[in-house]
Symmetry: C2
Subunit: 128 residues, 2 copies
């Protein structure tokens, strides 16, 4: 099994789109104004919901979370400096943290306050 | 880029371990009692935090979310009936939902109230 959908909740989808599409450069897959933004990543999806819409009853269970989540995307370790500079140039506070000799993570927050991380898979011993 | 870490918040790590290890059968990778359970999946990690511990200040930004999140794991469509029976046998309410002809999802809740889903990648047009 692997993760197919990772979900974060945001309160302003417009700001979220500027951030995830613009700053992070992720490819937008689907968008319903006022409800969600779906990004297609390698092998899976990153779903961003506005809970004011997604928490409403429907055909599937309500998605009634809140900002304050966490997700980590893969980082090519050779591009750590580039990404840190790109994130700082966008006005973000970036925490760079070394996991011993296993690699370094970059931590920052999206506009809704979710904690995002970029990290090389080898911090978990993952080599693919 | 792909998702390396998907994170959910739980309030009772003991019940969470019974559920994620026992009912879902995921492989536990690391455990710190009172703080977290980390599961190693294909190509990435599922992190379960108790925010009473993970929200404390530390070397990396606090992980201060709350239950009510959502994640979806991959499902072999040939095993949908088996998984539905297994989840119902564990006492769960299961919502089975068909995405047109793209496949079916199983929705249920973990003990903390996170909305979990099992779905075949082709609901998103993902074939790997």
């Amino acid at each position: 099994m692997r993760v197919l959908e990772t979900c974060l909740y945001v309160t302003d989808l417009g700001r979220a789109e500027q951030f995830y599409s613009g700053v992070l450069g992720l490819p937008l897959f689907a968008k319903v104004p006022g409800r969600h933004l779906f990004y297609r990543l390698e092998g899976g999806m990153l779903l961003l919901f506005d809970p004011r819409a997604s928490a409403q009853p429907g055909d599937v269970p309500p998605h009634a979370g809140s900002p304050g989540g966490h997700a980590c995307l893969t980082l090519d370790p050779a591009r750590t400096d580039d990404w840190e500079a790109r994130l700082r140039a966008a006005g973000l506070n970036v925490t760079r943290y070394a996991w011993g000799d296993r690699g370094e993570s970059l931590y920052f927050h999206d506009p809704a306050g979710n904690v995002l991380e970029l990290a090389p898979p080898r911090i978990w011993g993952i080599t693919v």
